[in-house]
């Protein structure tokens, strides 16, 4: 599903964010990427989503060589990916429904279909009652779950989460992780960048540890998990 071969990433200005990364993540895997701030966790996710382009090496996502994905095709490519952020990045002038519906509206779904799917996604994160609220009226944990619903509503093949639990207390973080696990169980490949090592270890999934742009350790495999 995701294969990195000798991948280097230099940001303009010479800052080397990733060095010689080799990794393979199978379809349906759930993988944690950890490491200190600046170790390259976010960069790894950004390369997968084509937010940044890698400098050297080869990345193949879902059978597609990313070098061959032209700028025009990037939007279509991204429709197979769901995103989660630490700061939620919800649109504050839109209701919860409209926020969650965004990926479906972008993909051009019909209204009835959108309503059905948004309701299903919100039901999954137990926020069906907040469908007409605005994000500001929700607690941090609820906003986070709206973000989860938005990330999976279009049934992406890959879910990328960048520090999804950064602002949550341990109990809520745990709930969010369990939610990811549920999506993973229905076949979504899940990549979570996080520095919350205690929790990651409790989830007993594959862990990739980065340090200054290199893979330091590679513990656990999908088969072990």
């Amino acid at each position: 599903m995701i294969r990195f071969t000798n991948v280097h990433m230099n940001y303009p200005g010479g800052n080397e964010a990733l060095r010689n990364i080799n990794l393979h993540i199978e379809q349906g895997a759930m993988v944690y990427i950890t490491g200190r701030s600046g170790a390259g966790k976010s960069t790894l996710l950004r390369l997968i989503a084509l937010i940044d382009r890698h400098s050297r090496g080869q990345i193949i996502i879902n059978g597609q060589n990313l070098e061959r994905v032209r700028k025009r095709r990037i939007p279509i490519f991204r429709r197979h990916i769901g995103f989660m952020f630490q700061d939620h990045r919800l649109l504050n002038d839109r209701t919860v429904f409209d926020n969650v519906a965004l990926p479906l509206v972008i993909a051009g779904y019909r209204h009835q279909e959108i309503r059905k799917r948004v309701q299903a996604a919100l039901d999954k994160v137990s926020l069906l009652t907040k469908v007409n609220s605005y994000p500001r009226a929700l607690s941090g944990g609820e906003q986070q779950r709206v973000g989860v619903a938005r990330a999976v509503v279009h049934r992406p093949a890959i879910l990328l989460a960048d520090e999804p639990t950064g602002n949550l207390d341990p109990a809520l973080s745990w709930d969010t992780m369990k939610l990811f696990e549920q999506f993973n169980q229905v076949g979504v490949t899940v990549l979570i960048a996080s520095h919350d090592l205690d929790m990651i270890k409790r989830m007993s999934k594959r862990i990739i540890t980065l340090k200054t742009g290199r893979i330091l350790t590679h513990s656990g495999t999908p088969t072990e998990a």
Binding site: A49, I51, P75, I76, F77, R78, R79, I81, F83, R89, L91, D93, L102, P103, V105, I106, A107, G108, R110, R150, H154
Partner: protein, 327 residues
């Protein structure tokens, strides 16, 4: 049930066509969404949008009303022929048949396009009718008016010197008592109108640029304000055309509402001027009436508003939207 039937009918023969139709439906749907969404955005921020639209409306109304004014002046002066006309007052001893012969000879001159003979009796009758002095004129023993020949030169009417030469030549003829060439002021008016016309073209261009800048800047601000939304939309696979669509439609709305405001301003002004102008025209025994915008010009006004709105927002979108990439 219906849907199932339709699928069954279309699927076997033309999957390509149904795919095309699906895409077209999607395209139409997304346009409808952007259309309504941008209107919703417009209504959501009424004060700032109404102010912007009012500025656009006034900028459109100014050149439009000047054109209208020019139209009206042209219309009012259209009863006077644009070309030069020379009035020849013949000697009183030239009788009607002689005058007709003289007019005929003149019209064969290559410098003269047309001559019209006004017989002295006809002139008197018309004068009696129009002046209101009929009683007084009846007391005259003899018609005091001479025969008159109106001469329209075939010369280029803008060439003063040639016209002057022709007048001198005509005045020298024995039948002619005096020649009058009093349309100089009319020509001055026409020249003046020409200058005014140019000025209006310049003014319209400047105001059109102003409208473009206003709309462009407004759209630029709204792109800036919705930066995070644009980033998220790009992250979830929104294409450039998907993202720019609502902004283009906002430009359209500014144009439409600006055009409507301009139309209202002009129509109300015309209504206010209508009465006084009619009273003035009555004093001059004229049945002149102000020409309003009419259907055609209203359409042009609205269309210019829409065109400027779309173009202004297009410029802003091209300049600023591409620069925003997800971070």
């Amino acid at each position: 049930m219906k849907q199932v039937n339709r699928k069954k009918n279309t699927r076997p023969n033309k999957t390509f066509n149904s795919e095309l139709k699906r895409r077209f439906d999607m395209w139409l749907l997304q346009h409808a969404q952007a259309f309504i969404f941008s209107l919703g955005q417009y209504i959501k921020h009424p004060i700032s949008n109404i102010l912007t639209t009012a500025v656009i409306g006034i900028s459109l109304a100014l050149p439009a009303s000047f054109y209208l004014l020019l139209d009206n002046v042209r219309y009012a002066s259209s009863s006077w022929d644009g070309s030069v006309q020379i009035t020849l007052f013949l000697q009183t001893d030239v009788d009607e048949s002689h005058a007709a012969e003289f007019a005929n000879i003149l019209s064969s001159d290559s410098n003269i396009r047309e001559t019209v003979l006004i017989k002295r009796d006809d002139a008197l009758a018309e004068y009696q009718k129009l002046s209101g002095f009929s009683e007084a004129l009846n007391t005259l023993d003899e018609n005091p008016l001479p025969n008159v020949v109106l001469v329209k030169p075939s010369l280029d009417s803008t060439d003063e010197a040639e016209t002057e030469a022709l007048i001198k030549q005509l005045e020298a003829m024995p039948e002619v008592d005096s020649a009058q060439y009093d349309s100089r002021w009319l020509k001055r008016l026409l020249y003046l109108l020409d200058i005014v016309n140019r000025l209006i073209v310049i003014l319209s261009t400047l105001l059109a640029i102003a409208v473009l800048l206003i709309i462009g800047n407004t759209i630029r601000l709204s792109i800036h304000n919705r930066r995070s939304e644009i980033e998220i939309t790009k992250l979830f696979g929104g294409t450039d055309s998907f993202i720019q669509r609502p902004f283009l439609y906002s430009g359209l709305w500014y144009g439409v509402f600006g055009g409507i405001i301009a139309w209202l301003l002009i129509t109300i002004s015309m209504q206010m001027l209508h009465g006084p102008v009619k009273q003035l025209a009555n004093l001059y025994a004229s049945n002149f009436q102000l020409i309003g915008l009419g259907f055609g010009n209203s359409v042009i006004l609205l269309a210019s508003g829409i065109a400027l709105g779309l173009f202004g927002s297009w410029i802003a979108v091209k300049r600023h939207l591409r620069a925003i990439e997800p971070v």
